[in-house]
């Protein structure tokens, strides 16, 4: 019977030593980073919609009567919403509210895209909601007034600096409340 060859000799003969990476400090660093992030970061992604306070001035009214600007206005009422211009620059369009009483945001947005195609340089819109409209609906309507959606037809406007036609990203970004001081309706 032959003796079994020595395993010590076999191991040392040409077999490279394995180098093991020490992962413990890396794990420590990652655990510390995760703990730090969990403590410090905010997961509520808050966004904002700005609106200036309307200022009434008799001088502006005289100027406007001469210039007859678009002054696009959206009135949200109990039964319907209306898009109109006090200086009759556009034909008024009435949009019936949805069966639950909320304004038809999609139809309003589509109509505003049509108007934007005719007046691409206009950026202001006067918003006249009725008193029962909730903050939730207010934000949804303001979003539809301000933002273009990916499904909207592209509207191009010439950039004065570069001379290149560029697609517009926003619809009517400056939303002003028309009935803060009372009135604003017709």
């Amino acid at each position: 019977m032959f003796k079994r060859p020595s395993s010590r000799r076999r191991a040392s003969k040409g077999k490279a030593e394995t180098v093991e990476l020490n992962l413990v400090p890396m794990m420590d660093a990652l655990v510390t980073m995760i703990a730090f992030m969990l403590f410090t970061l905010s997961f509520l992604n808050i966004v904002s919609i700005e609106s200036p306070v309307p200022i009434a001035s008799s001088r502006d009214v005289e100027k406007k009567l001469d210039e007859k600007p678009l002054q696009l206005t959206l009135s949200v009422r109990d039964q319907e919403s209306e898009i109109w211009s006090p200086f009759e620059r556009i034909a008024p369009s009435r949009i019936q509210n949805l069966p639950d009483g909320s304004p038809d945001i999609v139809a309003i947005h589509d109509k505003l895209v049509e108007i934007k195609q005719k007046f691409p340089r206009e950026s202001k819109i006067v918003f006249v909601p009725n008193t029962k409209v909730t903050y939730d609906v207010l934000i949804a309507v303001m979003d539809s007034l301000r933002m273009m959606t990916p499904t909207d037809p592209p509207i191009f406007l010439k950039n004065e600096a570069t001379g290149i036609d560029e697609p517009l990203k926003s619809l009517f970004p400056e939303v002003i409340f028309g009935n803060l001081l009372g009135g604003g309706e017709r």
């Binding site: 794990m27 995760i34 992604n45």
Partner: protein, 197 residues
């Protein structure tokens, strides 16, 4: 008997000498995935807006991240300005409902206390006082600051008010608050909402 004990000794010695390697690679993978998830889902904004318990904030597609400003929180229960409750609404519960349950109701019936209103119900007095106080404090700080405009005057009050309202708050309430803010010298409202992904 002697031979048997020596075998046992040899076995136990073998067990002790054997190096115990914990497989850390897979654990490291998990930690990296968690870290990437945290980085992706957290916001890069440094602005922190406080909130109150039970508020239901609406969603918005607006891309604008709000900078730091004076902050008003409106819930059907109370008005909170700069983390301080300044006024409580009067909640009318439905029959058989207690006040706490009524405040959480989607159709909560809340009203201003008539004593808190003035100018024909358009101006909210406690809010007006708090806003004027905050404006004066801000103007004083700006006057004491070394920052000056081109004419060497203190920087003007920016007059921005961030409004974080519960989604059930009606425009009737918001209109009074906005009118009050306008009367107190605030020029811009910043309506806050949660980002719709």
């Amino acid at each position: 008997m002697i031979r048997h004990s020596s075998i046992l000794k040899r076995r136990s010695r073998k067990r002790v000498n054997k190096a115990f390697d914990l497989q850390l690679t897979s654990m490291l993978d998990i930690l990296v995935i968690i870290l990437v998830f945290l980085l992706k889902s957290s916001t890069a904004s440094t602005t922190q807006f406080a909130t109150v318990q039970g508020i239901k904030i609406p969603l918005s597609v607006s891309p604008d991240v709000p900078p730091d400003s004076l902050h008003l929180i409106v819930t059907p229960e109370a008005l909170t300005f700069e983390n301080e409750e300044i006024m409580r609404f009067v909640i009318t519960p439905a029959e058989g409902q207690d006040a706490a349950a009524a405040a959480q109701d989607d159709h909560v019936n809340y009203q201003f206390n008539p004593q808190d209103l003035s100018e024909g119900g358009r101006l909210v007095r406690p809010l007006y006082d708090a806003l004027v106080k905050a404006r004066e404090r801000s103007e004083l700080l700006r006057a004491q600051s070394q920052a000056r405009d081109e004419e060497g005057k203190p920087l003007p009050f920016d007059g921005v008010l961030a409004i974080q309202a519960d989604k059930r708050i009606s425009y009737d309430t918001l209109r009074r608050l906005m009118y009050t803010a306008g009367a107190a010298g605030y020029k811009v409202f910043r309506f806050l909402a949660l980002k719709k992904e």
